[in-house]
Symmetry: C2
Subunit: 276 residues, 2 copies
Amino acid sequence: MDRVAIAGVGLIGGSFALALRKAGFAGEIIGISSASTIQAAVARGAISRGTTLEEAAESADVIYLAQPIDQILRTLELLGPMAHSECLITDAGSTKSVIDEKARECLRSATFVGGHPMAGKEQRGVENADADLFRNRAYVLTPPSRPGANAEQFRGWLKRIGAQIVDMTPQLHDKTVALTSHLPQLLSTTLAATLAHSGEDSVARIFGPGLIDMTRLALSVPDLWTSILESNRPFVLDGLRLFQKELCQAVSALESGDITPLFVNAANFSRKIREK
Amino acid sequence: MDRVAIAGVGLIGGSFALALRKAGFAGEIIGISSASTIQAAVARGAISRGTTLEEAAESADVIYLAQPIDQILRTLELLGPMAHSECLITDAGSTKSVIDEKARECLRSATFVGGHPMAGKEQRGVENADADLFRNRAYVLTPPSRPGANAEQFRGWLKRIGAQIVDMTPQLHDKTVALTSHLPQLLSTTLAATLAHSGEDSVARIFGPGLIDMTRLALSVPDLWTSILESNRPFVLDGLRLFQKELCQAVSALESGDITPLFVNAANFSRKIREK
């Protein structure tokens, strides 16, 4: 693994490049992005130069796709006939099934391993890239389309940058993040919209730190989320239905029953995910 | 305002005492709590000694009730026939209508002003008290039952400890916090319970920082929340119904429409409450 090409040198692509450097990667890191992003990424020290998808397909050992999901799908189509047989193609898209299917359909000889680093920030762009973004965070990898030396080396570098690798099928990944990422996003967004539509001016004045926590995800811009939610629609709808059912039970408990068991179950789960 | 008695010297009562001291209050601060709490509060420097409700009713200029709601109601009943006519009684309970009604019913001659500092922490107890807990936070005050010198002085001290006073009727307060505090709490708790009940082990392993934000409130213990939610049930149920309606619209948009307007409205509101 001597040359890594990063397609989409934003927050995630830039952070992966900085993390590789910090972990001692001595090879070349090049980028495929708009001219202005390439300039910013070189200035940030994330990549040494810009390149084309053609050059990457011919000469890179690893091509890391850190683009929005719809662009990852397009890049896989373009790489299909071009990527050399020793090349590892991997991605950092937020859902895995649609991308995995596209890779199986398009890629002739290159190896594909889907990936999803469970890390992020509200701020986007290579300016906000952080060499420690993946440290102590789960990093899902889906099974490789075929074994290969570059896939093994890539796993080694993920460990060195501090990521906690979790192997998982694309389907289980998507079902899981529908509950742990897409559902929380939609609840935060729907909560903020409910307050915005309530007609009470006082809701923007009388609140505590809890509302700030609960509306942080709602700051997200819609463009990224539209393609994430579309690519995982059935599992997201299942997750919403589970939540709606649980909320109906909470309403009943509030009307006439005992809300204590709900609070106890919720507190136990919330403590558990903080224990790792 | 020379002697302040604090009933319930926990996180809020203790923080109010520390804040008064930091702002230069030179009078006496005494506490009404269990023996072990009084010991901890004296050790923390929040109060100089413990006292009885009887002594406070006879001699304190201000009695600050920082107890759970059900205990505040009981303390008001006890204070009713005892509190001297110059005494200001105020509270820090999370809902205001029920407490305001009880104060009007029970207090003979003392002045009552309801209060609600929009501040908090997950950690409870005087050990976690913080002199800056109220700084730059909204502090709701409900109209006084009658004018009085101690009520005016109390307002002055709230300003000196950095609180941002907002005058509001008990009803508008309760309607507002149903949306900005009780609804977020119930959504966080219901989200954590949904994941706990999903039957997927992977939900406790594959998540990002967003789920941590969205389940922080769910760590809350039920005992406090049972009395808060009971004392504000009609407005809480209204808030839940507004949210359920908005969530149904989000599901429809996800199934067949455009989710962009929801995200844009939500992001605008979330930015607005961060601008103050």
